[in-house]
């Protein structure tokens, strides 16, 4: 069902993970095309977050490996994975609440170059005028945007987004989708988990469906959504 991807930036090969008796992931193979926006969809509990954790080093797989840009990530700690240029956001937003908005970015790159980039990114997510304020005082949506600006500060080559649209109002969501497309057009690769199917369909170049810890199929959004099996998973048949 799954066609091969030319020049993948990320390859997940035969990854399996169990928690006690629960098999969260079984023999997962996934390839992400360089310069694409790839969506990972699937019902709750299908293993999407576990897969994200394994790709980024927060959990280690029982079997299989993750290859990023030709190099295995085996045994790398999360901070080492990030330094390779593979960076993620979390489902529950993670920022530094007692640092100011600007410091949340500058902590990862100081000096004139870092300041220039921080200013650009804060403008990009519309938080520049709150630069001096403690991040704890931001609204949920703003914190989410701050996290995105923060991970962009790290200049990732591959960005993993765990439910970027959840909890963001529709106007803001549209804006965010546009920003994500701009990132792709600037050469970044994006892999995202998202439940908002209409948004995902419009945004993504490719979709991969995860169900019960296994990859069900991958393909263009049109092909995936037309699949009878996928309809069954998402609409309950």
């Amino acid at each position: 069902m799954t066609e091969p991807v030319a020049d993948p930036i990320l390859a997940v090969r035969g990854v399996a993970k169990s928690f006690g008796g629960l098999r969260a992931l079984q023999d997962v193979h996934l390839e992400v095309a360089r310069g694409s926006i790839t969506g990972l969809i699937g019902p709750n509990g299908s293993g999407k977050s576990t897969l994200f954790d394994i790709i980024t080093g927060y959990q280690s797989p029982d079997a299989g490996e993750v290859v990023f840009d030709g190099a295995s990530l085996r045994a790398l700690a999360p901070h080492q994975v990030s330094r390779q240029g593979l960076v993620r956001t979390f489902q529950l937003t993670r920022i530094f609440p007692t640092l100011t908005v600007a410091e949340n970015l500058l902590v990862f790159a100081d000096g004139a170059e870092g300041e220039g980039r921080a200013r650009e990114l804060l403008e990009f997510v519309g938080l520049l005028r709150l630069a001096d304020h403690e991040a704890a005082g931001l609204s949920y949506g703003q914190q989410k945007l701050l996290e995105i600006a923060q991970v962009l500060m790290l200049q990732p080559r591959l960005l993993l987004l765990d439910e970027p649209l959840a909890g963001i109002n529709p106007g803001l969501a549209e804006e965010l989708l546009q920003r994500l497309r701009e990132l792709r057009d600037s050469g970044m690769t994006l892999l995202l988990v998202e439940h908002d199917l209409p948004a995902v369909t419009r945004l993504c170049d490719r979709l991969t469906v995860l169900d019960g810890g296994q990859i069900m199929l991958s393909g263009t959004p049109e092909a995936v959504l037309a699949d009878a099996g996928v309809k069954e998973v998402f609409l309950g048949g």
Partner: protein, 357 residues
Amino acid sequence: MTAGPARAAPPPSSPASPAAVRPLSLRGRGLSEAGPRVIGPALLLLAAVAALPLLPGIRFYYLQVVILVFWFAVLGTSWSIIGGYGGMHSIGHATFVGVGAYTSTLLYVDFHISPWLGMPAGMALAALVAVVIGYPCFRFGIRGDYFALVTVALGQVGFEAANGAANITKGAQGVPLPYAGNAPFAFQFANRSVYFYVVMALWLVVVAVAYRVRRSGFGFKLIALRDDEVAAERGGIDVSRHKLLALALSAAIAAAAGTFYAQFFLFIDPGAVFGLTLSVQIVLMAVLGGMNSYLGATVGAALLVPLSQWLTTRLSGVPGLDLVIYGAILVALMLYMPFGILGLLRRSPHWRRVIGW
């Protein structure tokens, strides 16, 4: 970038500050930002304190209280580097004080090595102890209450070791340092006021170090990992390495203060320099003043040391009552002022840069 998404929801409390006015910077302009109206009086206060020993007829008792204020400020500031900035709350910092005091003292008493050389030796040994204890803790993610418990245990081990290894440390009876008269090279001064200036200089250096650390990239990374370790890792920060460096630096400073204690009182015993009481006092200084700030412990010590001295003399008829009152005040402060005194200023973008919040 025309329509910024955040315009949809500005927080009600934020004053409209034109972002273009201030350059974005991690360090800001630091202390100079306080302006002459803050720096002027602060320097005056410092000069006035420095002139205290010159007051004719001042009782040494009062100078000793100020010496203890500086001494506890040094310890609380050292604690703030790992406990405040790094969020790893050590309740065993007396161990490092003890290692410093015993190292320089035993080197002096047994081998006639000047305490001025014993001090860096003690600092190095304390940093080594910190690394040996810290490495497994940080490597395996022991944090929060569990780290505090590990350090309590460390403190007990240090205390028992100093008590038990009597052939080296003279055990519970303590080690008196031979009085050498006026011997600057042996860190002893006939004019007791000199100790005042020595500890004040030590305090200045330590506050300057804490200030520099707070404003360095290293300091911001410490604050970041304290705020959210997972996000810090995600940002490529080697969390355990940063914690280890902070703990080692903190331990070395505490050890230096230990050597000063030995030279000032010319007597050390395990209870005084390895005791849990001292560990707890160090934490209280920093927490009361505001442990995020490089000045927090100084504010805490300036209030708590005179208060505890006053309570001790005032209530000497009722043993223990001073400690009860001391404790009650602290509980109230912690309940109503969890960020400490300087923490009250943290909401102001201007003041938080001045106090290094």
